[in-house]
């Protein structure tokens, strides 16, 4: 049955694009700051809920709501950096401490979402026509997700390789102290990194919020997928993390050909395990610098 095979591959690409949206911001922040910002998933979730409140509850113009949501996501991300990560960096906390702090931030924002919006599943209704591709189905929003993740990837590549800010970010990523001696302020670069990374989380929150249902734990499961994709590709490289995300999406969706669909998550964790144990630098294999 070729159309089922095609549908599984298509589903894999769609899931891969969703994970890539999460993974690109996560690995951008990791590559510059050298710690795992798990609360990235919480930024995504609270952005999706903000869009729900603005567009559905308050009923303001949909595009204006999206714009406000993206600004909101950037603010949340930067506040996390200023309020929590910056004081920890100041006292030279290890990356393990920052990792635990980021998980604490994630549960904090999750619990806030749960308290404010409640545990019930929410949907953002949109017009979403379905297309037929050789017998397989894909929705307009899914096409947009794939297109946006491709555009964002190109934009990120341009930012990192061609702009002054991108070069400064790479300098800080490479060696913070040397960057400082040539006049780059690392704290300013970290702030910019969180703005751009959280903007990506906001875009992911908007698109995933429209494409799927909203539930308080959505950020946790998505950041784990995004992060797994990043480990498969390469934690320190945005193109690597995007590649890894697509591999993860494909393996998960083609895997349910053999396994019950409930095991989708388990497939991701097993892949994560295999890569952490045998190839922690990921497929693109850049050597991870000791922070």
């Amino acid at each position: 049955m070729p159309s089922i095979a095609l549908q599984l591959i298509l589903n894999g690409l769609i899931a891969g694009a969703v994970y890539a949206l999460v993974a690109s911001g996560f690995s951008l922040i990791y590559s510059v700051t050298k710690f795992m910002h798990f609360a990235h998933g919480a930024v995504l979730a609270i952005a999706a809920y903000a869009l729900f409140t603005l567009a559905v509850s308050a009923g303001i113009n949909f595009y204006a709501a999206i714009l406000l949501t993206l600004v909101f996501a950037c603010i949340v991300g930067v506040l996390m950096d200023w309020a929590v990560y910056r004081p920890l960096r100041k006292r030279k906390a290890s990356s393990a401490v920052l990792l635990i702090a980021s998980i604490a931030l994630m549960t904090l924002v999750n619990a806030i979402v749960l308290a404010v919006w409640g545990a019930d599943v929410k949907t953002i209704p949109t017009i979403n026509p379905v297309f037929d591709v050789l017998g397989a189905r894909i929705t307009l929003v899914q096409v947009i997700i794939i297109a946006v993740s491709a555009i964002l990837l190109l934009a990120l590549w341009f930012l990192m390789k061609r702009t002054k800010l991108g070069k400064a970010m790479r300098a800080v990523a490479d060696n913070k102290d040397v960057a400082q001696t040539v006049g780059i302020n690392p704290e300013r670069i970290y702030t910019w990194t969180f703005i751009i990374g959280s903007l990506l989380a906001g875009v992911a929150g908007v698109l995933i919020g429209i494409e799927q249902n909203l539930y308080p734990q959505m950020g946790v499961s998505l950041v784990i997928k995004g992060f797994t994709g990043a480990v498969i590709g390469s934690l320190v490289s945005v193109p690597g993390s995007v590649l890894g995300s697509f591999i993860l999406g494909l393996v998960e969706n083609i895997g349910i050909w053999w396994l019950p669909s409930g095991y989708k998550d388990a497939i991701a964790f097993v892949l994560l395990f295999i890569f952490l144990l045998f190839r922690p630098t990921g497929l693109l294999g850049v050597k991870v610098r000791e922070a």
């Binding site: 290890s94 998980i103 619990a111 964790f269 395990f273 922690p280």
Partner: protein, 286 residues
């Protein structure tokens, strides 16, 4: 009377969670293994003991010991490939382990009934006061075991591995074996705590492997202080008591749960920023 029952309930929970925290401290604080999957051992112990008691009719003292042993085997199996990983990567692999266990509990429905959970788990004693005494005895035994362990040659070697693994190796210590044993012992007591939990609450479901509980555990651990058995016990008491006044303000229960998680996360963040060694901590988180 209702208030006395509530205090007994609280004391039972504190007793069980302090076993869990003291055990976690041995892996994280004494041996330097940043294990984020501790809650996985707790859940494994809970499920194993509940199923052995319910399906095979094992006597409870035996099923609880078996719950600890199954968790210990899981700990050793997890340690075999992962203890060579450093810091962050070990943390992630162990966190992934907890998630995989949650996924198995949700999907292996023939064994665990999936999201429906397992109801009707037999109680050890019907009277909560008697159960409290049992929990406290086991908790005190746990503290003594870990206190003696930390003073033993084995415990000293574990602390040496935490401080400088290469140096410990050069002094002829088998660091691999020490790390596996440390995680196995830690997992055993976490499994015992989980088994006690399941026979007290009488119902378990996959939410036992939740992320919120990992944060609660680390709050208790870090508030108490790494490398201090006393600290972990006191950290558990402190963190259980802090959110309790909320109960009497009269928030609806849908708000109460998230409020507790918000408080735990805030406490953990504040401690990490302002007092990273907690109350009795001897070392920093590597």
């Amino acid at each position: 009377m209702a208030f006395v029952n509530y205090l007994i309930h609280l004391a039972i929970l504190i007793g069980m969670y302090s076993i869990l925290t003291v055990a976690l401290n041995f892996a994280v604080g004494f041996t330097g293994l940043l294990n984020l999957g501790h809650i996985g051992f707790f859940g494994i112990g809970a499920y194993a003991s509940a199923l052995l008691a319910l399906q095979l009719g094992w006597p409870l003292w035996l099923s609880i010991l078996a719950g600890g042993s199954v968790a210990m085997i899981a700990g050793i199996l997890l340690a075999l490939p992962t203890t060579r990983l450093k810091g962050d990567y070990l943390a992630l692999a162990t966190l992934g382990f907890a998630f995989i266990m949650g996924s198995v509990a949700r999907n292996w429905t023939e064994l665990t009934r999936g999201a429906l959970g397992i109801p009707g788990i037999p109680k050890i004693v019907s009277d909560n006061t008697q159960f409290l005494i049992i929990v406290l005895i086991i908790a005190v035994i746990t503290y003594i075991v870990f206190f003696m362990l930390s003073r033993s040659r084995f415990g000293k070697a574990c602390q040496a591995i935490r401080d400088d693994e290469l140096a410990a190796k050069m002094l002829g210590k088998n660091t691999f074996l020490h790390k596996i044993s440390a995680l196995g012992i830690s997992a055993f007591f976490a499994g015992i705590a989980g088994a006690l939990f399941s026979h007290y609450i009488t119902f378990i479901d996959p939410s036992i492997f939740g992320l919120g509980d990992i944060i609660l555990l680390f709050s208790m651990l870090i508030v108490g202080g790494l490398g201090s058995v006393k600290g972990s016990a006191i950290g558990t008491i402190v963190l259980f008591l802090i959110p309790e006044p909320l109960r009497f303000i009269g928030f609806p229960s849908s708000i109460l749960g998230p409020m507790r998680e918000i408080i735990f996360a805030l406490i953990l963040l504040l401690i990490l920023i302002y007092r990273p060694r907690g109350l009795f901590g001897k070392v920093d988180l590597a």
